[in-house]
């Protein structure tokens, strides 16, 4: 039997909680600082504007493209290669011109006229500034709604301390993931937002499995302090936590390396989020519930027992 941890030894996770809190506190603080200083590198979906991706038959000459664009009156355009040398991404900020929706076609025409190379249009995206605002609003709403929904579900299904612990860990994951995107100034677009929500979905998985075990242990063992019980629950779920993270990280690595440029941000956010989510559900979620004072009485089943429902005694 391959095993990640040896059976029988309980790891005193709760003893390390101060360390975890100091580390997480610093990371969260750092994330908030970079978010407020640097902000996020909002993608086209949120800022509005035009993005044009063109493919050249040979390696593209970026300075030449910039020059062409400037000559045609698109001065502020950001020109960068995208994935390969032949692929060029041009981003133009929203402008007050009347014909903003024709920008893409005009830029393409200018490039085609000015290049001996064959220029192929790969993608044009235009988002009106007001649509961008709405998308941002909806996105923020989605994150909050997800957190609130989870908070309520776990509070109903388990107990409010475990629920607060789990949601605290989720918020921690979201803030850190946003912090990473801010620090590295990676583009934050709709797919990355989807990834952030997927991180929430993943991290809650871990928290639920651990909470479930904590509840089960409280009901099963009649001795032991909450600290011992929580440590036991974390230890017995640890190999599952690590293995699931591992398989998820494996597929995300596949996505990151072969999934292409368009999905890069998505994979990055999830990779980081899964690592952070695994850590936080072990160290942050349960220790929050512990500090909030989760106890055996809170998790005992309701007094009225239904017919045929028995709690298995330990052998």
């Amino acid at each position: 039997m391959h095993q990640i941890i040896k059976a029988g030894s309980t790891i005193p996770f709760m003893r390390y909680r101060w360390w975890a809190w100091i580390i997480s506190g610093l990371l969260v603080l750092g994330s908030i600082i970079t978010l407020s200083v640097k902000g996020l590198n909002w993608g086209l979906d949120f800022t509005g504007g035009t993005v044009i991706e063109v493919g050249y038959s040979q390696a593209a000459d970026l300075p030449q493209i910039r020059h062409t664009l400037e000559n045609n009156g698109f001065g502020g355009a950001v020109v960068q290669s995208f994935g390969t040398q032949q692929d060029v991404l041009i981003r133009i900020e929203p402008r007050d011109d009347i014909k903003v929706q024709e920008l893409g076609d005009q830029v393409l025409r200018a490039l085609q006229n000015d290049s001996a190379n064959h220029v192929e249009l790969r993608r044009i995206e235009f988002v009106g500034p007001h649509v961008g605002d709405e998308l941002a609003e909806q996105g923020g709403l989605a994150v909050l709604a997800a957190l609130a929904g989870i908070l309520i579900y776990i509070a109903l299904r388990f107990e409010w301390r475990l629920s607060l612990g789990a949601v605290g860990a989720l918020a921690h994951d979201v803030i850190l993931t946003l912090g990473l995107f801010s620090l590295l100034q990676l583009e934050f677009d709709l797919t990355v937002l989807a990834a952030v929500l997927a991180v929430i979905g993943y991290s809650i998985n871990d928290s639920v499995v651990i909470s479930d075990r904590i509840r089960e242990n409280f009901r099963k063992f009649h001795k032991g302090t909450p600290e011992e019980i929580i440590n036991e629950a974390l230890t017995s779920t640890l190999s599952r936590t690590i293995i699931t993270s591992l398989t998820t990280i494996l597929v995300l690595l596949a996505l990151y390396f072969v999934g292409g440029q368009l999905i890069h941000g998505f994979a990055t956010a999830l990779l980081f989020g899964v690592v952070v989510g695994t850590y936080s559900s072990i160290f942050i979620g349960s220790s929050l519930a512990f500090v909030l004072g989760v106890s055996r009485e809170d998790l005992m089943p309701p007094e009225v027992e239904k017919e045929g429902e028995n709690i298995e005694p330990m052998p």
């Binding site: 039997m1 391959h2 059976a7 991706e53 007050d96 009347i98 929706q101 024709e102 893409g104 076609d105 192929e120 249009l121 790969r122 993608r123 044009i124 235009f126 988002v127 009106g128 007001h130 649509v131 909806q138 996105g139 709403l141 989605a142 709604a145 997800a146 929904g149 989870i150 579900y153 709709l190 797919t191 937002l193 989807a194 929500l197 997927a198 979905g201 993943y202 809650i204 998985n205 639920v208 499995v209 479930d212 017995s236 599952r240 699931t244 591992l246 398989t247 998820t248 494996l250 597929v251 995300l252 596949a254 996505l255 999934g259 292409g260 368009l262 999905i263 998505f266 994979a267 052998p315």
Partner: protein
């Protein structure tokens, strides 16, 4: 006995997976390049057309994979995309403008599969290439138009009742009627009170003035009507563009989504879709002086418009006919080889035209061309401001009483005649629209995205399978079997749901599901290992392992499903595509990981006397 499934449970697992596999099969066959020929309003597709198509193909020397004539459409399947373009161009030339010849992809599903309704997954624009537009409708203009019609109605009805008014105007959302005398006021008040549904009559006796004001309900109805009318008209225009399987849908209170798979020429698509040109036919005001009007003294009941030659023309305010009565319009040349547009009207339109021109033979009638252009600015309520450009494009003397068919001459160029004909044919938008979001993807990038997505799924799958096989040994391979079944189920269900569309983030969702789906099995297997460590017998270990993991798996998956549903409800575009596959993946993975693996494990190890479990 422990760990034996009843027959029905085994059968259920087999049947569910078999059905899903059956519906997943069409995805292997993929799609053929095809050219689709459909009729416009003036012609029908029939056997003659079919012969013509076959003839064109043989002249071209292209061997078609199949030619089918169904639902008033002819579908020609060919082997390569190059052939597809060749065939399209040849057919366009051979059939002329009366038919819509569009590029399409037709599922290459075998007949017996198609017979049970199986078809490949629908691919989103990011995988297929094409254009996505989000358009915003100018609601003010829609209301204004309705109010102007109301003004004209009130004016003619009061005239018929012989109630004398000094002015009838539209002011904001009201029609304001000023009466000459107190008697007229009383008569008008009696006449107009409760006459029009959706309007309230406000009176002002001191000034002999009445106001017809739209109720809130009527306002909303008007706006709903404007949106649905615009959707219909955009659909007509999209058909004129020759696009296969377009989507034109209302979104929210004032927006319309248009998706055109396979369209590359976005400039033309935008020109046609965004144009809000319409025509109005009006009489020229010959009783009053044009010069006076140009000096600023526009006579009451008339309006001054610029014309093509740089001057102005004075027209009567009453509209004889608006563009929405136009049934067909074709561009051509008149006797002197000048461009012209021939117009056919519907029944009511023909009656109106006939009635109006009967007593006015010999008088000049003007064609007013109205176009709305977005200024790019917004008003205080955050609505787009449109500018109304009006131009008299033609003044012609009515030679005889006009009926349902007549023509407009005096158009500048052949190109303009063609564009005008197309716009008239496709109908005039009730209210102007502006594109607020556009996403265009080239077809090569679409194919590239499919390849990348498939590769990512394959690699992710492989890595997980190898890991599980090594770490959990034989039980791991059972989990791998379940994972495979899970993939088949996701693809099968995606193919079965009519509205489900696979997008690139959707593929990412499948990849993520592959990684997370084994979680349930990991939970179960870890529990089984615990039970074994607790010195239970192998059979009991399996039984209690599954049992105790069950509620955990349910809780964990329900919360994730909750997130997926929120994503679906709140998200747009890419987020939605991701949410769909994620949600389907969660449900199917619960089935395969809990019921599916149990069926296999029970069949192999269950109920037997064994010492050790290969977990």
């Amino acid at each position: 006995m422990l760990n034996k499934f009843p027959l029905w449970k085994n059968l259920m697992v087999i049947v569910i997976i078999a059905v899903a596999s059956l519906y997943a099969i069409p995805n292997i066959y993929g799609e053929d390049y095809a050219v689709q020929i459909s009729a416009t309003r003036t012609v029908t597709v029939n056997d003659k057309t079919l012969t013509q198509v076959e003839q064109t193909l043989s002249e071209l020397g292209v061997q078609a994979k199949g030619i089918a004539f169904e639902n008033n459409q002819i579908l020609v399947r060919v082997n390569t995309d190059a052939e597809q373009l060749q065939v399209r161009d040849a057919l366009l030339k051979a059939l002329g403008n009366d038919y819509i010849v569009a590029l399409n992809l037709a599922p290459a599903t075998p007949k017996w599969l198609a017979a049970i309704g199986a078809a490949p997954m629908k691919l989103g624009l990011d995988l297929r290439g094409g254009v996505h537009f989000l358009m915003e409708v100018d609601m003010d203009e829609a209301t204004r138009k309705i109010q102007e019609q109301m003004r004209d109605t009130v004016r003619s009805e009061l005239r018929e009742e012989r109630i004398r008014s000094s002015s009838i105007r539209r002011v904001d959302n009201d029609v304001v009627i000023e009466l000459r005398t107190a008697e007229d006021y009383a008569a008008a008040r009696r006449y107009l009170n409760n006459r029009y549904q959706g309007y309230r009559l406000l009176d002002d006796e001191v000034n002999n003035t009445l106001r017809l004001r739209m109720t809130e309900a009527k306002l909303k109805e008007t706006q709903d009507y404007a949106i649905s009318q615009n959707v219909t008209i955009l659909r007509n225009r999209v058909n004129e563009l020759g696009v296969a399987e377009p989507i034109v849908q209302r979104q929210g209170s004032s927006r319309i989504v248009v998706q055109l798979p396979g369209v590359q020429d976005t400039a033309r698509a935008k020109e046609i879709l965004g144009a809000t040109a319409t025509l109005e036919f009006r009489f020229v005001d010959t009783d009053n002086s044009l010069r006076d009007a140009e000096m600023g003294r526009v006579p009451f009941g008339s309006q001054l418009f610029p014309n093509r030659n740089g001057g102005n023309t004075l027209l009567r305010e009453d509209v004889i006919l608006t563009g929405d009565h136009i049934v067909n319009a074709t561009a051509g040349f008149d006797e002197n080889q000048r461009p012209q547009v021939s117009i056919s009207l519907d029944g009511p339109g023909g009656d109106k035209m006939s009635l109006a021109t009967r007593d006015n033979i010999g008088k000049p009638m003007a064609t007013l061309f109205i176009e709305f252009k977005a200024t790019g600015e917004r008003d205080a309520d955050d609505r787009i401001i449109f500018e109304r450009h009006e131009e008299v494009i033609n003044v012609a003397t009515i030679q005889s009483r006009l009926g349902s068919n007549f023509r407009i001459t005096g158009i500048n160029s052949q190109q303009e005649a063609q564009n005008l004909a197309l716009l008239l044919r496709a109908g005039a938008l009730i209210a102007p629209i502006q594109i607020v979001e556009e996403r265009t993807l080239g077809p090569s990038l679409g194919q590239e995205n499919i390849d990348l997505g498939t590769k990512a799924i394959a690699w992710g799958f492989l890595l997980v399978v190898v890991f599980m096989g090594i770490y959990y040994r034989w039980f791991g391979w059972v989990a791998n079997l379940a994972l495979t079944a899970n993939l088949v189920l996701i693809i099968g269900i995606m193919s079965m749901i009519p509205g489900a569309t696979l997008t690139l983030p959707g593929m990412a969702g499948i990849v993520l599901t592959v990684g997370m789906a084994v979680d349930a099995n990991v939970l179960i297997f870890e529990r089984i290992r615990e039970e074994i460590r607790a010195k239970r017998s192998p059979q009991q270990a399996i039984h209690y392992g599954y049992d105790s993991a069950f509620s955990t798996i349910m809780d964990a998956n329900i919360t994730t499903l909750l997130v997926a549903l929120i994503l679906f409800a709140v998200g747009t575009g890419p987020v939605k595509g991701f949410a769909v596959t994620l949600a389907i993946g969660i449900v199917t993975s619960m089935f395969t990981a809990i019921v599916g693996t149990r069926a296999v494990i029970n069949a192999i190890w269950g109920g037997k006397k064994i010492d050790r479990l290969p977990v």
